[in-house]
Amino acid sequence: MDVVYVDNNATTRVAPEVIEAMLPYFGQWFGNPSSMHTFGGTVGRKLQEAREKTAAFIGAQPEEIIFTGCGTESDSTAIHAAIASNPEKKHILTSRVEHPAVKNLFEHLSKKGYRTTFIPVDRQGRLDMEALEKSLTEDTAVVSLMWANNETGVLFPIETIAPMVRDRGIVFHTDAVQAVGKIPMDVKAAGVDMLSLSGHKIHAPKGVGALYVRKGVKYSPFLIGGHQERGRRGGTENVASIIGMGRACELAADHLKMQSERVRGLRDKLEKGLLDAVPKSMVNGDRENRLPNTTNISFEYVEGESILLMMDRLGICASSGSACTSGSLEPSHVLRAMGVPFTAAHGSIRFSLSIYNTEQEIDFIIEKLPPIIAKLREMSPFWKP
């Protein structure tokens, strides 16, 4: 059975070009980039190249890039660095719809005595800008807001927020894990202090991430150890994966146009096809300001896990914000923060595409999913045709 993979916000296929770039560094070129000998030094130079490619992709300088183990580590490092550099400030701010990497860290810090503010969003998942501005105080150490939401793809206006926050002397961090590679990005133009990205969302392998720290921003390391990453992140580098990340950034830069045209086109086709074929279905999130690859659709009166399992039988891989799939008993915190009614939240499915998806795959989903919803609705006591 062929797999139709439309779960690219969860993780992506490692690009063949990336694998090819990485392989020598598992075998022949196994050296430690910190070594004094030429053998290790050669590897060190490749690492530097990867740093240059990653930096160039987001408009940064190479020395502003710290390689990490994942997006979560980048987020944790950034937020800890910001509060460690501002020990007198005891207020931190984020939104109600962040990824657990930020949300749970904020809840943890709240227990440690930090005053935390979670800014609400509206029905479309748009940030309450007025509430944000009102909540910034002299005691605020850091504001951390995601660039793109992983569940809905909704974009926050980072270019507007960053100066508003920084003008008040507050550190601004953005979790851009979902946005990088899908929309054009320039950290200098956006004016952010710190930005997190993750390898495996942009066709590099799992286990590698990066943190951009603007030159001049106070920083203190999270992993303390050797002098790797110029003392800003101890631990021997994950060489092959970092080289893969550099290659993935190069490819992603070439593919940005494809994202905004072809991937967007396929996403729009899928969305329209499903909304037309399935009554009582709706898109969650602001359709105007959204990643080109993501759509989050609610099918009312049916439950998400059931939909996923029936699609799974056909090889279709997607995700759901329903309670039964979240491992808790309540539906996704993102949909609840948006005020999506329970009738719809339990039956929400996220499709996230990549450049590897084909028109045939989209047609296949549009053909196969409506009968699945119809079958489940026939079983549902709430469904009144």
Binding site: K111, S306, C324
Partner: protein, 275 residues
């Protein structure tokens, strides 16, 4: 990804007896859209008072659909007295087991069956007995007690898996623990320090601890302490009497007051002096 047995998958993908019996003898409806699962069970009796036919409609995950389907198969041919003895464990066993986190699906089946039988017998619609313990999912102490007893549940997590109680905000965890302890024959055990307190609980506990433990000790040396404010885990106090002028007041504050509050209220509390 849940690990479902082949039997669960079969009953999910090929559910038996989907629908509603129009002239049903018994009707039982449980759950709600808000909770994420719901079941409507209907059955028809034959002339010998045995269940001739049973049908279901379910909104929910794969295990909820499979549990409902299994239930309709299990009760066909039974008398109502026999059907009344079907437990949630029976439903789970019929399916070759359910993931622990999904046991509430089998409980929902049993509840719908009980309601449908009560409907036929003309028993008054049973109001959920007892007092609501879990407000997020509207679960009463009686329901929790029954689940603990019938399934030999040991922990709060178990209770959440079986009847959902405690799976929302978590404010009822202490109350659930008390029910578990009571059922399991333990008397009221010394309450473990709760890890999470509401602000009001926290402030009250800090006040009590100051009055009971700390003030008497300070007063012996001619000092006193006053609670000014509590912000998150920061406790602001004012020192009076000899404490206020004592050179060792910081030692008193951190070494004694703070460690006492950390021990008796919450380990993460920080005490700060207000001048």
């Amino acid at each position: 990804m849940w690990e479902y047995t082949d039997k669960v998958k079969d009953h999910f993908l090929n559910p038996r007896n989907v629908g509603v019996i129009e002239d049903a003898d018994g009707i039982g409806e449980v759950g709600s859209l808000a909770c994420g699962d719901a079941l409507k069970l209907t059955f028809k009796l034959d002339e010998t008072q045995r269940i001739k036919d049973a049908k279901f409609q379910t909104f929910g995950c794969a295990s909820a659909i499979a549990s409902s389907s299994a239930l309709t198969e299990m009760i066909k041919g039974l008398t109502l007295d026999e059907a009344a003895k079907v437990t949630n464990e029976d439903i789970a066993q019929y399916l070759g087991g359910l993931p622990k986190e999904k046991m509430h699906c089998s409980v929902m089946g049993r509840d719908a069956l009980e309601k449908a039988i009560a409907y036929y017998r003309g028993e008054a619609e049973k109001k959920p007995e007892g007092r609501i313990v879990c407000e997020c999912f509207g679960v009463t102490d009686m329901e929790i007690e029954r689940a603990v007893r019938e399934n030999n549940l040991q922990t709060i997590e178990d209770v959440t898996d079986y009847v959902k109680a405690g799976g929302g905000c978590g404010n009822c965890h202490d109350a659930i623990q008390e029910i578990i302890d009571a059922v399991r024959g333990k008397g009221p055990v010394p309450k473990e320090k709760p890890l999470r307190l509401t602000n009001i609980q926290k402030i009250k506990l800090i006040e009590e601890t100051l009055d009971r433990e700390i003030k008497p000790a300070l007063k012996k040396d001619g000092g006193d302490i006053e609670l000014v404010d509590v912000d998150g885990d920061r406790v602001f106090v004012k020192l009076h009497g000899t404490c206020a002028t004592c050179a060792a007041s910081q030692v008193t504050l951190k070494g004694y007051v703070e460690s006492k509050l950390q021990e008796l209220v919450l380990p993460q509390l920080v005490v700060e002096e207000v001048q």
